[in-house]
């Protein structure tokens, strides 16, 4: 998410492909270094309810996740 742009595709790739994963890890770290929060939209397999899961490290991304959304950190308004 980016002010004035909305959704911006940063990078994409197959986590099972080494070169792709290196690129995904690098972009993930870059976003967190810039102060962004990362969340993965998830769906409860039992109830079907959708929620989000905050991830702080690339290894925390669920294997079935199709996307990671980066957004600015919350601050008191």
């Amino acid at each position: 998410m980016k002010p004035g742009h909305g959704e911006v595709l940063l990078t994409e790739g197959d986590r099972r492909v080494r070169e792709d994963e290196e690129r995904l890890v690098a972009e993930f770290r870059r976003q967190l270094d810039e102060g962004m929060w990362a969340a993965v939209p998830t769906e409860n397999p039992g109830s079907g309810r959708r929620e989000a899961e905050m991830v702080r490290d690339y290894s925390e991304i669920p294997p079935e996740a199709e996307r990671v959304i980066f957004f600015p950190r919350a601050a008191g308004g």
Partner: protein, 231 residues
């Protein structure tokens, strides 16, 4: 004769020097102004760009939230998110996300008035408190069973990349709050500034929104939808 011509040329050059200097300075200033314009352009407000950004943000929001929540946002302009904390004995054991820096603290489920004690009917499975998430407005905590307004949490997601614009599109702001609340309620509420209801949100308008929400649910026949969410 030659000497006279040289003197004449020298005098003409001296007289013309100030005029030439002014012309050069003016051209330099104009050139500098032209160079500055492209750098200023990104921070200028472009209604078309903002509209396209909002359209993309709505699509992203729609792809992430539940159908009921999307319908709520589309029809009413806000989303309700159930509070995660349970009264003592049923409190979540998830201890992540306690790095709060603001004055906010999640509503205490034990301090929420007992609906039975207040004369209202307790509905099984209903969360003790919930949030209303508005775009670019504070998050509002309330008691679904009694419609009692608890507090407002002022929180924003400012861009720190320095690209000029600082506010997310409205739907992105809602999605950011939704993701933060459903994933790590403690962290986002901990960073928020907590106030009594009425500082930024008009209590009368919020109560009207709660009435609109109940009517919206009644029309959709989803009175029990909030129970499903907590199942």
């Amino acid at each position: 004769m030659l000497l006279a011509l040289l003197v004449l040329a020298l005098m003409a050059a001296i007289l013309a020097a100030p005029l030439a200097a002014r012309t050069i300075a003016r051209r330099r200033a104009e050139s500098s102004k032209r160079r500055r314009i492209p750098r200023a352009a990104p921070i200028s407000y472009d209604p078309g760009r903002e509209r396209r950004a909002e359209q993309r943000a709505r699509e992203l929001l729609r792809s992430c939230v539940n159908d009921e929540e999307w319908g709520m946002y589309r029809d009413l302009g806000f989303i309700r998110v159930a509070g995660r904390h349970r009264p003592a004995g049923r409190r979540s054991t998830d201890a992540r996300g306690t790095e709060g820096r603001g004055t906010g603290a999640v509503p205490d489920p034990n301090a929420v008035p007992d609906p039975e004690a207040t004369g209202s009917v307790a509905r099984t499975g209903e969360p003790p408190y919930a949030y209303l998430v508005y775009p670019h407005k504070p998050i509002l905590a309330y008691v679904p069973a009694t419609a009692q307004l608890l507090s407002e949490y002022c929180v924003e997601f400012p861009d720190i990349s320095g690209s000029g614009a600082t506010r997310l599109p409205a739907s992105d702001d809602v999605l950011a709050k939704w993701m933060a609340l459903t994933s790590d309620e403690n962290r986002v509420i901990g960073r928020a500034n907590m106030h009594l209801v009425g500082r930024q949100l008009d209590p009368a308008r919020v109560r009207r929104d709660l009435w609109r929400l109940s009517e919206w649910e009644r029309r959709r026949g989803t009175q029990d939808s909030i129970r499903i969410r907590r199942a």
